[in-house]
């Protein structure tokens, strides 16, 4: 009696099952205590090369456009909308999820009291005017009229300290570059039906969790405001962050629904195939072990796991669902489960080890996300194989119904057996046609647009465009950047650029722009303005002359004299002095420090109509001004990334072939094992291309899984040898494997989410092609005495 047979005893079985359960629970604990799922797309990006790519990686989801959420409140009378707009702004003013919430209300209090005297250094008035008697007289005459106008209440408190109304000049200057339509001081759509708000989130645009929090906070605050209105107003949230939340929720929702349908049909399939409820408990064990072991390994090695690693990883370990199926199908009365598994093991191990070796190449890809994927898959596959080899045999029913006794299966095999094995010229012909389609069909081969994979419904995009133009929100694609050694130089250069930018606006090349120097002039400019402020005696004399024929009380303007005197001695205002003011938030997104400690100003653009004009502008300032095309940069990154994946895949294929050859040691057998998966892959690619489907990374990952499945099918068919019962059991196992995988991924292929559909369709097609081709090419004819048994069952590799 072999040592292993001892475990078949029921008592030991129980202990083993418990031990295994403890192990899995331990893994689960490890995973949940250590694992943080990161949404940082940068993990999945290759090292950036061009400066645009570098910027994109640094900025990914951080650019001024991508953090912006556009809000519209509608469906109520405009007084109610205004009330809600104010309420929402007040409710979220101190919410840490947001950097800025604008609804159009004036920004008079943008400068804190302690910085008030700086208005003379920040306002451009002194660039063209002097505070002499004639100018002051003209200004004071205006103020007199103001005091007699309905604006008196608003202006009167300002006049003593700020008779030239620099405070208002600055407030106007700091309004968004293209002020939206206003009702009651709040932004509204031109048709007055929607109150508009402009929100900047603290979380990056592609930080799904941060965006989820922000969107949730907005919705909660709004729901609270609306309360129990009879005709409740609606809140629309638009923008990249809102879309990513929407898409991920929809993906999750569909994946859940599909997952439930999958589970139920899979269990039904297993129940029909084996007519044993115990199988239902045992079949998921390897997959569960694989998933948890993979996650635990990634969290130990990397600390955090990328969301995409999870999605891809669970796709790739789908193959382990087949491992127990082989064991179940080959188990029949009179055969010890341990002997059964020893017989299957060489074939199973060949598949697992060669696939694992192939995945090793991802480790050298230089992309963290792919390295995670590699660790996850290798550990997962190994764990599932170990679970199948050393755990399941102890737990399965040693005397189940022999599937080889099924007459239906017998008749099916006879039919299959009657089919001719395709000859090499035919296979070569099919492959050539597929290649020809790939090379000559006119469709676009690769999908370079990341956004195309998670497409936002057209209705929402149109809506976004509309809100964007109504609010004058920055363009998400084009951006100018100005780099210099320090922030002050950036501010100075930006100020010099303003006339050129104004010219672009005048020529309608762009609708508007926003830059840091609009809020904070450079130290030199501030200093120059300071020099133009008159001293106390001069100003006092000018003021006396200016007020001589006006009705102002004497000494009304003492605060003005005091503020000007203060302004003359102030050190220039720097970005850091503005901390905790509303201005700091605007500056944060427009003035940044690069990774190499230089300063970078972002010039956001609205309504880009003529990119050539922007290109020309950038060309006039080589070395400092750069036009960034974020779409182009992200596409070039995707291309670079894909090249790296393809390159890795080629190495993987060579390694895989090498591993299979090492296991099988016969060119003929290697050909039989690898031909189905190669031709299948070609056929899938050709089919997609012929149908005009542009291929994405998701297709590639799914192709890897399909190839792995194909290898397993071929190895098992090839291994089945010529014993009819064994052939029948192998047919049963592969049929169940193919049916269950086909079912799971076929359902995924019906999803409305392109990512899920890409993975689902690719794998489902792969299952069909690989199954048929493996059956035709890799099986042995059941005519006796032709070949020796193909594998020495006791041999281990």
């Amino acid at each position: 009696m072999r040592r292993e047979d001892f475990f078949v005893k029921p008592r030991a079985q129980l202990w083993l099952a418990l031990l295994w359960l403890l192990f899995v629970l331990g893994l689960a604990w490890l995973v949940q205590s250590r694992l943080t799922v990161s949404g940082d797309l940068r993990l999945f990006m290759p090292t950036p090369k061009t400066s645009e790519q570098k910027f994109l990686i640094e900025q990914l989801g951080e650019g001024p456009g991508s953090r912006v959420l556009l809000l519209a409140i509608e469906g109520a009378p405009d007084e109610r909308l205004a009330e809600l707009s104010r309420g929402l702004r007040d409710a979220l003013a101190h919410d840490p999820a947001f950097r800025y919430i604008g609804n159009g209300e004036d920004t008079l209090d943008a400068i804190p009291e302690r910085l008030r005297a700086y208005r003379y250094l920040l306002s451009p008035t002194l660039d063209t005017q002097r505070f002499d008697a004639p100018y002051l007289h003209a200004q004071l005459q205006q103020r007199l009229q103001d005091l007699g106008s309905p604006a008196a209440a608003m202006i009167e408190p300002l006049v003593p300290s700020d008779p030239t109304l620099e405070t208002l000049t600055l407030a106007e200057r700091w309004q968004p570059p293209r002020e939206p339509n206003k009702i009651d001081g709040l932004w509204f759509s031109p048709d007055s039906k929607r109150a508009l708000l402009f929100v900047e989130t603290r979380a990056a645009g592609f930080d799904p969790q941060g965006q989820q929090t922000a969107v949730q906070d907005l919705q909660d605050a709004f729901a609270k405001l609306v309360g129990t209105d009879k005709t409740p107003a609606r809140l629309t949230i638009s923008g990249p962050g809102a879309f990513s939340v929407l898409i991920s929720n929809r993906t999750q929702y569909e994946a859940t629904i599909i997952g439930i349908v999958d589970t139920v049909s899979l269990l039904l399939l297993l129940l029909i195939a084996y007519r044993s409820p115990r199988i239902l408990l045992l079949a998921p064990l390897p997959l569960a072990t694989a998933g948890l072991a993979g996650l635990a390994a990634v969290s130990l090695a990397f600390g955090s796991v990328h969301g995409i690693t999870l999605a891809f990883g669970f796709t790739l370990i789908g193959v382990v669902q087949d491992y127990p199926v082989h064991l179940f199908s080959h188990q029949h009365p009179g055969l010890s489960p341990w002997k059964n598994v020893r017989t299957l093991w060489p074939t199973l191990a060949t598949g697992v080890i060669s696939t694992c070796i192939a995945y090793l190449t991802f480790l050298i890809s230089g992309v963290v996300g792919l390295q995670q994927l590699s660790v996850f898959t290798i550990v997962g596959l190994a764990a599932a194989a170990i679970c199948t080899r050393w755990m399941l045999p102890a737990l399965i029913d040693p005397d189940p119904r022999d599937v080889a006794s099924s007459p239906l299966l017998g008749r099916l095999w006879n039919r299959i057996d009657a089919l001719p094995q395709p000859r090499w010229p035919l296979l070569a012909g099919i492959s050539l046609i597929a290649l020809a389609v790939l090379v000559w069909a006119p469709a676009q081969l690769w999908e370079n647009n990341l956004a195309a994979l998670t497409p936002v419904p057209k209705k929402l995009l149109d809506r976004d465009q509309q809100l964007r133009s109504e609010l004058g929100a920055p363009d998400v694609r084009y951006l100018l950047t100005m780099e210099a050694a320090d922030a002050d130089t950036v501010l100075a250069r930006e100020a010099q650029l303003v006339p050129e930018l104004d010219a672009l606006v005048a020529h309608k090349a762009i609708d508007g722009y926003d830059l840091a120097s609009r809020y904070l002039p450079s130290a030199a400019v501030q200093h120059a303005r300071q020099q133009l402020l008159p001293d106390a005696t001069t100003l006092s004399a000018a003021l006396s002359e200016a007020t001589r024929d006006l009705d102002f009380k004497p000494d009304v303007f003492a605060p003005f004299l005091r503020d000007v005197a203060t302004a003359r001695t102030l050190p220039p205002l720097r970005a850091r002095d503005l901390a905790d003011t509303p201005l700091a938030l605007r500056l944060q997104s427009l003035l940044q420090t690069t990774s190499d400690r230089r300063a970078r100003g972002l010039i956001s653009l609205t309504g880009v109509n003529d990119t050539d004009a922007l290109v020309q502008l950038a060309a006039k300032h080589p070395g400092e001004l750069q036009l960034l095309d974020l779409k182009q940069a992200s596409e070039s990154l995707v291309t670079a990334y894909r090249e790296r994946v393809l390159y890795t895949l080629c190495i993987a294929l060579v390694l895989l072939a090498g591993a299979v050859w090492y296991a099988l040691r016969s060119t003929h057998r290697v050909l039989k094992a690898l031909t189905p998966l190669l031709i299948s892959t070609l056929l899938i690619l050709a089919l997609f291309h012929a149908c005009g489907v542009a291929l994405s990374l998701f297709h590639l990952i799914a192709l890897i899984l399909a190839a792995g499945l194909g290898l397993d099918y071929a190895l098992f068919f090839e291994h089945a040898g010529e014993d009819r019962d064994d052939q029948l059991r192998t047919l049963h196992a592969v049929l169940i494997s193919a049916a269950s995988t086909g079912l799971v991924f076929g359902l995924l292929g019906t999803s409305s989410i392109p990512v899920l559909r890409a993975i689902g369709l690719t794998v489902a097609l792969g299952v069909v092609f690989n199954f048929v081709l493996a059956l035709l090419i890799s099986r042995e004819k059941s005519s006796p005495g032709k070949n020796a048994p193909v594998l020495d069952h006791d041999a281990t590799h």
Partner: protein, 196 residues
């Protein structure tokens, strides 16, 4: 009485306004006309001493100030919300024009005195704002009239400054009056005893 004061639109009346400010040695005297082209719009056009037109529609205030030739208006836009005095005065004024007592009582505690018969003696309506925000800027509004005519509005500020707006026949009578005390007397319904 409110019902009698209600006016159909469009309506127009001349006005003379005396507006005090803590910054000024003496109140400014403004003259012009008030128009109400439709129920939601009020236009206040000052003709002397300068030319300025204010259009108040719903919550938006647009001020256009013209140069000496009546051209090139310099405009300023703001929300009524930023000018609570104006908002207060306006809401009482609109409530009166619409004869809407509920609206008036909602914003003000109202005290009525005098005789409101047509052709009768003068009446007085004293409004005290209920909104504490408004009360900080406006301590009270007094409306005086005779019969169905509103003749004068007086707005008192907590700092002791006041604004008098004479309307209709009173404004016509005040057209040539410059003296602040004389205008005050007119507002209180006394004959325009020309001051020396």
């Amino acid at each position: 009485m409110l019902a009698k004061l209600a006016r159909p639109t469009p309506a127009e009346t001349p006005f003379v306004e005396l507006r005090g400010s803590a910054l000024l040695k003496q109140p400014q005297r403004l003259q012009g006309r008030l128009q109400q082209p439709d129920a939601n719009t009020l236009v206040r056009e000052v003709m002397t001493p300068f030319h300025e037109r204010t259009t108040i529609r719903a919550q938006d205030v647009l001020i256009e100030r013209f140069d000496a030739g009546g051209n090139n208006p310099h405009t300023r836009k703001f929300s009524l919300r930023r000018a609570p005095e104006l908002e207060g005065l306006l809401s009482s004024f609109t409530a009166l024009l619409r004869g809407d007592r509920v609206l008036l009582e909602k914003n003000y505690s109202v005290q009525m005195s005098g005789d409101d018969r047509i052709g009768g003696a003068s009446w007085k309506l004293q409004l005290t704002p209920r909104d504490p925000r408004l009360l900080k800027r406006v301590s009270g509004i007094t409306l005086r009239g005779r019969g169905n005519a509103l003749e004068c509005m007086q707005l008192n500020q907590p700092d002791g400054q006041r604004t008098l707006t004479l309307l209709g026949m009173t404004a016509v009578a005040a057209a040539k009056v410059g003296d602040a005390n004389a205008l005050g007397a007119l507002c209180e319904g006394k004959p325009a005893a020309s001051a020396p």
